[in-house]
Protein backbone atom coordinates (compact mmCIF):
# COMPACT_ATOMS: atom_id res chain seq x y z
CA UNK A 1 0.00 0.00 0.00
CA UNK A 2 2.78 2.44 0.85
CA UNK A 3 4.62 1.43 -2.31
CA UNK A 4 5.30 5.05 -3.27
CA UNK A 5 7.69 5.09 -0.39
CA UNK A 6 9.68 2.06 -1.38
CA UNK A 7 12.46 1.17 0.98
CA UNK A 8 15.01 2.56 -1.45
CA UNK A 9 13.42 6.00 -1.44
CA UNK A 10 13.21 6.29 2.31
CA UNK A 11 16.75 4.96 2.55
CA UNK A 12 18.21 7.49 0.10
CA UNK A 13 16.23 10.26 1.81
CA UNK A 14 17.41 9.39 5.30
CA UNK A 15 20.95 8.36 4.45
CA UNK A 16 21.95 10.07 1.24
CA UNK A 17 25.32 9.12 -0.20
CA UNK A 18 25.83 12.33 -2.11
CA UNK A 19 24.66 15.06 0.22
CA UNK A 20 27.06 17.94 0.63
CA UNK A 21 28.79 20.45 -1.57
CA UNK A 22 31.95 20.57 -3.63
CA UNK A 23 34.17 23.61 -3.55
CA UNK A 24 35.87 24.14 -5.91
CA UNK A 25 33.71 22.53 -8.54
CA UNK A 26 33.45 22.52 -12.32
CA UNK A 27 29.69 22.71 -12.62
CA UNK A 28 27.21 24.06 -10.10
CA UNK A 29 23.57 24.99 -10.36
CA UNK A 30 20.69 25.49 -7.99
CA UNK A 31 16.97 26.06 -8.32
CA UNK A 32 13.71 25.53 -6.52
CA UNK A 33 10.14 24.51 -6.98
CA UNK A 34 8.33 27.52 -5.52
CA UNK A 35 5.09 25.57 -5.23
CA UNK A 36 6.38 23.34 -2.47
CA UNK A 37 9.56 25.11 -1.48
CA UNK A 38 11.86 22.28 -2.56
CA UNK A 39 15.32 23.68 -3.13
CA UNK A 40 18.28 21.78 -4.56
CA UNK A 41 21.88 22.68 -5.45
CA UNK A 42 24.04 20.28 -7.41
CA UNK A 43 27.85 20.48 -7.70
CA UNK A 44 29.97 18.36 -10.04
CA UNK A 45 33.67 17.79 -10.56
CA UNK A 46 34.65 16.70 -14.05
CA UNK A 47 37.92 15.03 -15.06
CA UNK A 48 40.21 15.85 -18.02
CA UNK A 49 38.43 13.17 -19.99
CA UNK A 50 35.05 14.88 -19.56
CA UNK A 51 33.79 12.29 -17.11
CA UNK A 52 32.09 13.10 -13.78
CA UNK A 53 34.42 12.24 -10.92
CA UNK A 54 32.49 13.62 -7.98
CA UNK A 55 28.97 14.87 -7.37
CA UNK A 56 27.08 16.36 -4.45
CA UNK A 57 23.68 17.90 -3.78
CA UNK A 58 22.38 20.10 -1.02
CA UNK A 59 19.01 21.61 -0.18
CA UNK A 60 15.74 20.62 1.33
CA UNK A 61 12.50 19.12 0.16
CA UNK A 62 10.32 16.05 0.20
CA UNK A 63 11.60 12.49 0.25
CA UNK A 64 10.86 12.06 -3.44
CA UNK A 65 12.91 15.06 -4.58
CA UNK A 66 15.81 14.33 -2.23
CA UNK A 67 15.95 10.61 -3.02
CA UNK A 68 15.71 11.42 -6.71
CA UNK A 69 18.72 13.75 -6.38
CA UNK A 70 20.74 11.13 -4.55
CA UNK A 71 19.90 8.33 -6.98
CA UNK A 72 20.55 10.58 -9.95
CA UNK A 73 24.01 11.62 -8.76
CA UNK A 74 24.87 8.02 -7.95
CA UNK A 75 23.98 7.11 -11.53
CA UNK A 76 26.16 9.74 -13.21
CA UNK A 77 29.47 9.10 -11.49
CA UNK A 78 31.95 8.11 -14.19
CA UNK A 79 29.60 9.20 -16.95
CA UNK A 80 30.62 11.57 -19.70
CA UNK A 81 29.06 15.03 -19.27
CA UNK A 82 27.66 14.77 -22.79
CA UNK A 83 25.81 11.64 -21.78
CA UNK A 84 24.07 13.59 -19.03
CA UNK A 85 22.57 15.80 -21.71
CA UNK A 86 20.64 12.80 -22.97
CA UNK A 87 19.11 11.84 -19.63
CA UNK A 88 15.32 12.15 -19.59
CA UNK A 89 12.30 11.86 -17.38
CA UNK A 90 12.20 8.13 -18.10
CA UNK A 91 15.68 7.63 -16.66
CA UNK A 92 14.62 9.27 -13.40
CA UNK A 93 11.45 7.24 -13.24
CA UNK A 94 13.47 4.07 -13.76
CA UNK A 95 15.80 5.04 -10.93
CA UNK A 96 12.91 5.68 -8.56
CA UNK A 97 10.88 2.72 -9.74
CA UNK A 98 7.52 4.23 -8.86
CA UNK A 99 4.53 5.78 -10.59
CA UNK A 100 3.87 9.40 -9.69
CA UNK A 101 0.96 11.77 -10.19
CA UNK A 102 1.59 15.09 -11.91
CA UNK A 103 2.25 17.07 -8.73
CA UNK A 104 4.79 14.68 -7.27
CA UNK A 105 6.37 14.19 -10.67
CA UNK A 106 7.58 17.79 -10.43
CA UNK A 107 9.36 16.90 -7.17
CA UNK A 108 10.97 13.84 -8.71
CA UNK A 109 12.19 15.69 -11.79
CA UNK A 110 13.55 18.83 -10.12
CA UNK A 111 17.06 17.32 -9.63
CA UNK A 112 17.31 16.29 -13.29
CA UNK A 113 16.30 19.76 -14.45
CA UNK A 114 18.91 21.32 -12.20
CA UNK A 115 21.60 18.88 -13.25
CA UNK A 116 20.97 19.47 -16.95
CA UNK A 117 20.71 23.24 -16.58
CA UNK A 118 24.14 23.11 -14.92
CA UNK A 119 25.63 20.89 -17.57
CA UNK A 120 24.28 23.05 -20.38
CA UNK A 121 25.33 26.19 -18.52
CA UNK A 122 21.84 27.65 -18.72
CA UNK A 123 20.43 30.38 -16.53
CA UNK A 124 17.22 28.55 -15.78
CA UNK A 125 16.02 25.00 -15.16
CA UNK A 126 13.09 24.65 -17.55
CA UNK A 127 10.77 21.75 -18.29
CA UNK A 128 12.30 21.43 -21.77
CA UNK A 129 15.32 19.90 -20.07
CA UNK A 130 13.31 16.79 -19.22
CA UNK A 131 13.48 15.72 -22.86
CA UNK A 132 16.51 14.49 -24.73
CA UNK A 133 19.02 16.86 -26.31
CA UNK A 134 19.59 20.60 -26.25
CA UNK A 135 16.89 22.71 -24.62
Amino acid sequence: MDDLYREVIIEHYKNPGYRGSLDPNDITFEDENPLCGDHIKIDLRVGEDGKVTEAAFDGHGCAISQASADLLLESIIGKDVNEIKHLTKTDVMDLLGIELGPVRLKCALLPLKILKAGVYGLGEATDDLLEDGQA
Binding site: D38, H60, I64
Partner: protein
Protein backbone atom coordinates in the same frame (compact mmCIF):
# COMPACT_ATOMS: atom_id res chain seq x y z
CA UNK B 1 -31.76 23.02 19.84
CA UNK B 2 -32.06 19.74 18.01
CA UNK B 3 -29.37 17.13 18.53
CA UNK B 4 -26.56 17.47 16.03
CA UNK B 5 -26.67 14.24 14.06
CA UNK B 6 -23.50 13.99 12.01
CA UNK B 7 -24.34 10.54 10.62
CA UNK B 8 -27.56 11.88 9.21
CA UNK B 9 -25.75 14.88 7.76
CA UNK B 10 -23.19 12.60 6.10
CA UNK B 11 -25.98 10.77 4.29
CA UNK B 12 -26.78 13.99 2.47
CA UNK B 13 -23.32 14.05 0.84
CA UNK B 14 -23.03 11.39 -1.87
CA UNK B 15 -19.26 11.71 -2.22
CA UNK B 16 -18.59 10.88 1.42
CA UNK B 17 -19.67 7.31 0.69
CA UNK B 18 -17.02 6.62 -1.94
CA UNK B 19 -13.99 4.46 -1.45
CA UNK B 20 -10.58 5.25 -2.81
CA UNK B 21 -7.71 2.79 -3.26
CA UNK B 22 -9.16 -0.70 -2.84
CA UNK B 23 -11.80 -0.41 -0.24
CA UNK B 24 -10.30 2.42 1.78
CA UNK B 25 -13.09 4.82 2.73
CA UNK B 26 -12.56 8.50 1.98
CA UNK B 27 -11.73 10.75 4.92
CA UNK B 28 -12.10 14.25 3.57
CA UNK B 29 -10.14 16.77 5.60
CA UNK B 30 -9.69 19.43 2.93
CA UNK B 31 -12.88 21.46 3.16
CA UNK B 32 -10.88 24.66 3.49
CA UNK B 33 -9.78 24.15 -0.11
CA UNK B 34 -13.28 23.24 -1.23
CA UNK B 35 -16.25 21.74 0.58
CA UNK B 36 -18.22 18.71 -0.53
CA UNK B 37 -21.75 19.18 -1.84
CA UNK B 38 -25.01 17.86 -0.45
CA UNK B 39 -27.41 16.15 -2.85
CA UNK B 40 -29.81 19.10 -2.55
CA UNK B 41 -27.24 21.41 -4.17
CA UNK B 42 -26.43 18.98 -6.96
CA UNK B 43 -30.14 18.38 -7.57
CA UNK B 44 -31.00 22.07 -7.62
CA UNK B 45 -28.57 22.63 -10.46
CA UNK B 46 -29.63 19.48 -12.26
CA UNK B 47 -33.27 20.47 -11.93
CA UNK B 48 -32.52 23.92 -13.30
CA UNK B 49 -30.98 22.49 -16.46
CA UNK B 50 -33.71 19.91 -16.88
CA UNK B 51 -36.71 22.11 -16.23
CA UNK B 52 -35.92 25.80 -16.13
CA UNK B 53 -32.93 26.64 -18.35
CA UNK B 54 -33.26 30.05 -20.00
CA UNK B 55 -31.25 33.24 -20.15
CA UNK B 56 -32.00 35.69 -17.40
CA UNK B 57 -33.12 39.30 -17.50
CA UNK B 58 -33.79 39.27 -21.24
CA UNK B 59 -36.56 37.02 -22.49
CA UNK B 60 -40.25 37.35 -21.83
CA UNK B 61 -40.91 33.67 -22.31
CA UNK B 62 -41.73 31.14 -19.63
CA UNK B 63 -38.22 29.72 -19.17
CA UNK B 64 -36.49 33.11 -19.16
CA UNK B 65 -38.81 34.39 -16.51
CA UNK B 66 -38.54 31.29 -14.44
CA UNK B 67 -34.73 31.29 -14.61
CA UNK B 68 -34.64 34.98 -13.67
CA UNK B 69 -36.85 34.37 -10.66
CA UNK B 70 -34.65 31.47 -9.52
CA UNK B 71 -31.44 33.44 -10.01
CA UNK B 72 -32.73 36.50 -8.16
CA UNK B 73 -34.24 34.22 -5.52
CA UNK B 74 -30.77 32.79 -4.91
CA UNK B 75 -29.39 36.30 -4.52
CA UNK B 76 -32.04 37.09 -1.91
CA UNK B 77 -31.15 33.91 0.01
CA UNK B 78 -27.44 34.71 0.00
CA UNK B 79 -28.17 38.29 1.10
CA UNK B 80 -30.34 37.10 3.97
CA UNK B 81 -27.72 34.54 4.97
CA UNK B 82 -25.10 37.25 5.55
CA UNK B 83 -27.55 39.71 7.06
CA UNK B 84 -27.45 42.21 4.21
CA UNK B 85 -30.26 44.76 4.14
CA UNK B 86 -30.99 44.43 0.46
CA UNK B 87 -30.39 41.71 -2.13
CA UNK B 88 -28.96 44.34 -4.50
CA UNK B 89 -26.01 44.71 -2.16
CA UNK B 90 -24.95 41.20 -3.15
CA UNK B 91 -23.09 41.00 -6.46
CA UNK B 92 -22.53 37.56 -7.93
CA UNK B 93 -18.96 36.95 -9.04
CA UNK B 94 -16.94 33.87 -9.91
CA UNK B 95 -15.39 33.51 -6.46
CA UNK B 96 -13.93 35.40 -3.51
CA UNK B 97 -10.87 36.21 -5.59
CA UNK B 98 -12.92 37.94 -8.24
CA UNK B 99 -14.90 39.78 -5.57
CA UNK B 100 -11.72 41.30 -4.16
CA UNK B 101 -10.41 42.11 -7.63
CA UNK B 102 -13.70 43.82 -8.35
CA UNK B 103 -13.28 46.14 -5.36
CA UNK B 104 -9.65 46.86 -6.22
CA UNK B 105 -10.42 47.56 -9.87
CA UNK B 106 -13.51 49.70 -9.39
CA UNK B 107 -13.56 51.34 -5.97
CA UNK B 108 -9.78 51.21 -5.70
CA UNK B 109 -9.10 52.63 -9.17
CA UNK B 110 -11.67 55.37 -8.74
CA UNK B 111 -10.97 56.48 -5.20
CA UNK B 112 -7.38 55.65 -4.27
CA UNK B 113 -4.57 58.00 -5.24
CA UNK B 114 -0.81 58.11 -5.27
CA UNK B 115 0.65 57.87 -1.79
CA UNK B 116 -2.57 56.59 -0.17
CA UNK B 117 -2.11 54.06 2.61
CA UNK B 118 -3.69 50.60 2.33
CA UNK B 119 -3.44 48.34 5.40
CA UNK B 120 -3.33 44.58 4.86
CA UNK B 121 -2.09 41.76 7.09
CA UNK B 122 0.65 39.15 7.05
CA UNK B 123 -1.89 36.33 7.13
CA UNK B 124 -3.66 37.09 3.86
CA UNK B 125 -4.47 34.53 1.23
CA UNK B 126 -2.80 35.61 -2.01
CA UNK B 127 -6.22 36.67 -3.28
CA UNK B 128 -6.37 39.51 -0.76
CA UNK B 129 -2.78 40.50 -1.39
CA UNK B 130 -1.93 40.37 -5.08
CA UNK B 131 -4.88 42.53 -6.29
CA UNK B 132 -3.70 45.28 -3.93
CA UNK B 133 -0.08 44.84 -4.98
CA UNK B 134 -1.16 45.23 -8.60
CA UNK B 135 -3.13 48.37 -7.79
CA UNK B 136 -0.31 49.72 -5.63
CA UNK B 137 2.10 49.34 -8.50
CA UNK B 138 -0.24 51.05 -10.92
CA UNK B 139 -1.16 53.93 -8.62
CA UNK B 140 1.81 54.30 -6.32
CA UNK B 141 -0.09 53.29 -3.17
CA UNK B 142 1.63 52.58 0.11
CA UNK B 143 0.99 49.09 1.49
CA UNK B 144 1.52 48.33 5.18
CA UNK B 145 0.94 45.04 6.94
CA UNK B 146 -0.38 44.13 10.37
CA UNK B 147 2.10 41.56 11.67
CA UNK B 148 1.14 38.12 12.97
CA UNK B 149 2.27 37.25 16.51
CA UNK B 150 3.91 33.94 17.39
CA UNK B 151 0.56 32.84 18.80
CA UNK B 152 -1.06 33.37 15.41
CA UNK B 153 -3.02 36.55 16.15
CA UNK B 154 -2.86 39.92 14.44
CA UNK B 155 -0.78 42.43 16.36
CA UNK B 156 -3.47 44.94 17.30
CA UNK B 157 -0.97 47.41 18.75
CA UNK B 158 0.74 47.77 15.37
CA UNK B 159 -2.67 48.06 13.74
CA UNK B 160 -3.48 50.96 16.07
CA UNK B 161 -0.26 52.72 15.09
CA UNK B 162 -0.95 52.21 11.39
CA UNK B 163 -4.44 53.62 11.85
CA UNK B 164 -2.91 56.91 12.97
CA UNK B 165 -1.37 57.32 9.53
CA UNK B 166 -4.60 58.18 7.73
CA UNK B 167 -5.30 54.88 5.92
CA UNK B 168 -7.76 54.90 3.05
CA UNK B 169 -8.48 51.19 3.05
CA UNK B 170 -8.13 48.29 5.48
CA UNK B 171 -8.48 44.78 4.05
CA UNK B 172 -8.10 41.61 6.12
CA UNK B 173 -9.08 37.99 6.34
CA UNK B 174 -11.88 37.14 8.78
CA UNK B 175 -10.66 33.60 9.39
CA UNK B 176 -7.22 32.47 8.26
CA UNK B 177 -7.16 29.48 5.92
CA UNK B 178 -3.81 28.43 7.40
CA UNK B 179 -3.83 29.30 11.10
CA UNK B 180 -7.55 28.98 11.62
CA UNK B 181 -7.35 32.26 13.53
CA UNK B 182 -10.66 34.10 13.70
CA UNK B 183 -9.78 37.79 13.73
CA UNK B 184 -11.77 40.25 15.86
CA UNK B 185 -13.39 41.67 12.74
CA UNK B 186 -16.05 43.78 14.39
CA UNK B 187 -13.60 45.66 16.60
CA UNK B 188 -11.09 46.05 13.76
CA UNK B 189 -13.72 47.44 11.42
CA UNK B 190 -14.92 49.90 14.05
CA UNK B 191 -11.36 51.16 14.56
CA UNK B 192 -10.72 51.39 10.83
CA UNK B 193 -13.91 53.39 10.35
CA UNK B 194 -12.96 55.83 13.07
CA UNK B 195 -9.71 56.32 11.23
CA UNK B 196 -11.69 57.10 8.08
CA UNK B 197 -10.85 53.97 6.11
CA UNK B 198 -13.03 51.80 3.91
CA UNK B 199 -13.05 48.17 5.06
CA UNK B 200 -12.82 44.94 3.05
CA UNK B 201 -13.22 41.58 4.75
CA UNK B 202 -12.18 38.33 3.10
CA UNK B 203 -14.97 36.10 4.34
CA UNK B 204 -14.00 33.05 2.27
CA UNK B 205 -13.44 30.95 5.42
CA UNK B 206 -15.71 32.69 7.91
CA UNK B 207 -19.04 32.75 6.06
CA UNK B 208 -19.01 28.94 5.54
CA UNK B 209 -18.23 28.14 9.16
CA UNK B 210 -20.08 30.47 11.50
CA UNK B 211 -22.86 33.04 11.43
CA UNK B 212 -21.56 36.25 9.85
CA UNK B 213 -23.69 39.37 9.60
CA UNK B 214 -22.40 42.23 7.47
CA UNK B 215 -24.75 44.53 9.34
CA UNK B 216 -23.41 43.53 12.70
CA UNK B 217 -19.82 43.77 11.45
CA UNK B 218 -20.67 47.11 9.82
CA UNK B 219 -18.25 46.23 7.02
CA UNK B 220 -18.12 48.01 3.65
CA UNK B 221 -17.20 45.07 1.44
CA UNK B 222 -17.05 41.33 2.06
CA UNK B 223 -15.93 38.61 -0.37
CA UNK B 224 -16.76 34.89 -0.27
CA UNK B 225 -17.04 31.80 -2.49
CA UNK B 226 -19.92 29.33 -2.82
CA UNK B 227 -17.69 26.31 -3.25
CA UNK B 228 -16.30 26.56 0.27
CA UNK B 229 -19.81 26.57 1.75
CA UNK B 230 -21.29 23.44 0.13
CA UNK B 231 -22.15 25.24 -3.11
CA UNK B 232 -20.74 24.78 -6.60
CA UNK B 233 -17.52 26.18 -8.02
CA UNK B 234 -17.77 29.08 -10.45
CA UNK B 235 -19.86 31.38 -8.29
CA UNK B 236 -19.08 33.64 -5.37
CA UNK B 237 -20.30 36.91 -4.02
CA UNK B 238 -19.29 40.39 -3.12
CA UNK B 239 -21.28 42.18 -0.49
CA UNK B 240 -20.99 45.94 -0.83
CA UNK B 241 -22.68 48.79 0.95
CA UNK B 242 -25.21 50.37 -1.41
CA UNK B 243 -23.84 53.94 -1.24
CA UNK B 244 -20.41 52.68 -2.19
CA UNK B 245 -21.56 50.36 -4.95
CA UNK B 246 -23.61 53.20 -6.41
CA UNK B 247 -20.59 55.45 -6.70
CA UNK B 248 -18.31 52.80 -8.19
CA UNK B 249 -17.68 52.54 -11.92
CA UNK B 250 -18.66 49.22 -13.53
CA UNK B 251 -16.18 46.33 -13.59
CA UNK B 252 -16.52 44.55 -16.94
CA UNK B 253 -18.45 45.89 -19.87
CA UNK B 254 -20.97 43.95 -21.95
CA UNK B 255 -24.53 42.73 -21.91
CA UNK B 256 -26.69 42.91 -18.81
CA UNK B 257 -24.54 45.52 -17.09
CA UNK B 258 -25.98 48.34 -19.17
CA UNK B 259 -29.22 50.25 -19.26
CA UNK B 260 -28.66 51.94 -22.62
CA UNK B 261 -25.95 51.72 -25.25
CA UNK B 262 -25.24 53.91 -28.27
CA UNK B 263 -22.30 53.57 -30.60
CA UNK B 264 -20.07 55.81 -28.56
CA UNK B 265 -21.39 55.56 -25.03
CA UNK B 266 -23.39 53.59 -22.51
CA UNK B 267 -25.35 54.10 -19.33
CA UNK B 268 -24.65 51.46 -16.70
CA UNK B 269 -27.45 49.33 -15.33
CA UNK B 270 -28.61 49.72 -11.77
CA UNK B 271 -27.43 47.58 -8.87
CA UNK B 272 -26.58 44.77 -8.70
CA UNK B 273 -26.54 44.07 -12.45
CA UNK B 274 -24.14 46.94 -13.13
CA UNK B 275 -21.41 44.56 -11.99
CA UNK B 276 -22.66 41.38 -13.67
CA UNK B 277 -21.63 41.61 -17.31
CA UNK B 278 -22.54 38.86 -19.74
CA UNK B 279 -24.50 35.67 -19.18
CA UNK B 280 -23.75 34.64 -15.66
CA UNK B 281 -23.37 31.29 -13.92
CA UNK B 282 -27.12 30.83 -13.51
CA UNK B 283 -27.18 27.18 -12.45
CA UNK B 284 -24.33 27.78 -10.03
CA UNK B 285 -26.05 30.77 -8.45
CA UNK B 286 -29.11 28.60 -7.93
CA UNK B 287 -26.88 25.91 -6.40
CA UNK B 288 -25.42 28.61 -4.15
CA UNK B 289 -28.94 29.40 -2.96
CA UNK B 290 -29.55 25.70 -2.23
CA UNK B 291 -26.31 25.53 -0.24
CA UNK B 292 -27.38 28.46 1.89
CA UNK B 293 -30.75 26.77 2.47
CA UNK B 294 -28.98 23.61 3.60
CA UNK B 295 -26.67 25.44 6.01
CA UNK B 296 -29.51 27.52 7.42
CA UNK B 297 -31.67 24.46 8.01
CA UNK B 298 -28.96 22.95 10.20
CA UNK B 299 -28.13 26.31 11.75
CA UNK B 300 -24.80 28.11 11.62
CA UNK B 301 -24.49 28.28 15.39
CA UNK B 302 -24.86 24.52 15.72
CA UNK B 303 -22.35 23.97 12.93
CA UNK B 304 -19.84 26.32 14.56
CA UNK B 305 -20.27 24.64 17.93
CA UNK B 306 -19.83 21.16 16.46
CA UNK B 307 -16.73 22.18 14.53
CA UNK B 308 -15.28 23.83 17.59
CA UNK B 309 -15.57 20.59 19.56
CA UNK B 310 -14.06 18.61 16.68
CA UNK B 311 -11.06 20.87 16.26
CA UNK B 312 -10.36 21.06 19.98
CA UNK B 313 -10.37 17.29 20.16
CA UNK B 314 -8.22 17.02 17.03
CA UNK B 315 -5.62 19.40 18.45
CA UNK B 316 -5.34 17.44 21.67
CA UNK B 317 -4.99 14.12 19.84
CA UNK B 318 -2.57 15.41 17.23
CA UNK B 319 -0.33 16.91 19.88
CA UNK B 320 0.34 13.40 21.18
CA UNK B 321 2.46 12.81 18.07
CA UNK B 322 6.09 13.48 18.93
CA UNK B 323 7.43 16.65 17.36
CA UNK B 324 4.16 17.67 15.72
CA UNK B 325 3.74 21.43 15.77
CA UNK B 326 0.55 23.31 15.03
CA UNK B 327 0.83 26.73 13.40
CA UNK B 328 -1.03 29.38 15.37
CA UNK B 329 -1.94 26.88 18.03
CA UNK B 330 -2.45 29.54 20.67
CA UNK B 331 -4.57 31.97 18.65
CA UNK B 332 -7.25 33.56 20.80
CA UNK B 333 -10.11 32.29 18.62
CA UNK B 334 -9.70 29.61 16.05
CA UNK B 335 -11.84 27.69 13.59
CA UNK B 336 -11.60 24.21 12.11
CA UNK B 337 -8.23 24.46 10.40
CA UNK B 338 -5.05 22.79 11.65
CA UNK B 339 -1.83 23.41 9.76
CA UNK B 340 1.05 21.42 11.14
CA UNK B 341 4.61 20.30 10.62
CA UNK B 342 6.48 17.14 11.57
CA UNK B 343 10.23 17.41 12.09
CA UNK B 344 12.26 16.07 9.17
CA UNK B 345 9.21 15.06 7.14
CA UNK B 346 8.16 17.19 4.23
CA UNK B 347 4.43 18.06 4.05
CA UNK B 348 4.23 16.51 0.58
CA UNK B 349 5.31 13.20 2.02
CA UNK B 350 2.85 13.53 4.89
CA UNK B 351 -0.02 14.29 2.51
CA UNK B 352 0.94 11.49 0.15
CA UNK B 353 1.12 8.84 2.83
CA UNK B 354 -2.14 10.06 4.36
CA UNK B 355 -3.68 9.81 0.90
CA UNK B 356 -2.64 6.18 0.73
CA UNK B 357 -4.61 5.78 3.93
CA UNK B 358 -7.66 7.39 2.37
CA UNK B 359 -7.19 10.77 4.02
CA UNK B 360 -7.33 13.95 1.96
CA UNK B 361 -5.31 16.81 3.45
CA UNK B 362 -3.54 19.69 1.77
CA UNK B 363 0.21 20.19 1.65
CA UNK B 364 2.08 23.28 0.58
CA UNK B 365 1.81 26.97 1.38
CA UNK B 366 -1.99 27.09 0.97
CA UNK B 367 -1.80 30.27 -1.10
CA UNK B 368 -0.23 32.11 1.84
CA UNK B 369 3.47 32.24 1.09
CA UNK B 370 4.19 35.39 3.14
CA UNK B 371 2.59 33.78 6.19
CA UNK B 372 4.81 30.71 5.84
CA UNK B 373 7.81 33.02 5.45
CA UNK B 374 6.71 34.69 8.67
CA UNK B 375 6.87 31.34 10.49
CA UNK B 376 10.08 30.51 8.61
CA UNK B 377 8.77 27.28 7.10
CA UNK B 378 8.48 26.59 3.38
CA UNK B 379 5.29 24.58 3.66
CA UNK B 380 2.90 22.82 6.01
CA UNK B 381 0.29 20.08 5.99
CA UNK B 382 -3.26 21.12 6.68
CA UNK B 383 -6.23 19.19 7.99
CA UNK B 384 -9.50 21.08 7.93
CA UNK B 385 -12.89 20.19 9.26
CA UNK B 386 -16.48 20.86 8.36
CA UNK B 387 -19.95 19.94 9.50
CA UNK B 388 -19.69 16.39 8.12
CA UNK B 389 -16.42 15.30 9.74
CA UNK B 390 -16.39 12.92 12.68
CA UNK B 391 -14.41 12.01 15.74
CA UNK B 392 -13.63 8.61 14.13
CA UNK B 393 -12.05 10.42 11.20
CA UNK B 394 -9.82 12.33 13.57
CA UNK B 395 -8.78 9.06 15.20
CA UNK B 396 -7.96 7.65 11.77
CA UNK B 397 -5.90 10.74 11.02
CA UNK B 398 -3.93 10.40 14.22
CA UNK B 399 -3.23 6.69 13.68
CA UNK B 400 -2.14 7.41 10.11
CA UNK B 401 0.12 10.23 11.25
CA UNK B 402 1.75 7.81 13.66
CA UNK B 403 2.42 5.55 10.67
CA UNK B 404 4.02 8.44 8.81
CA UNK B 405 6.32 9.17 11.72
CA UNK B 406 7.24 5.51 11.97
CA UNK B 407 8.11 5.23 8.29
CA UNK B 408 10.55 8.08 8.56
CA UNK B 409 12.04 7.26 11.93
Amino acid sequence: MTIYNVEKIREDFPILGIEINLGIPLVYLDSTATAQKPASVIEAMDDYYRNSNGNIHRGVHYLAERATAMYEGARAKVAAFIGADKPKEVIFTRNATESINLVANTWGRAFLEKGDLVILTEMEHHSNLVPWQMLAEEKGLRLEFIPVTDDGDLDQAVFDQLLEQNPKLVAFVHMSNVLGTINPAKAMIAKAKRAGAITVVDGAQSVPHFAVSVKDLDVDFMAFSAHKMLGPTGVGALYGREELLDKMPPYMGGGDMIRKVSLRSFTPNELPWKFEAGTFCIAEAIGFGAAVDYLSAIGMDDIAEYEHKLVQSAMVKMKTIPGLEIMGEKAAHRGGVISFTLPGIHPHDVAQILDQNGIAVRAGHHCAMPLHDRFRIPASSRASFYLYNTEEEINHLVVSLQKVVKMFS
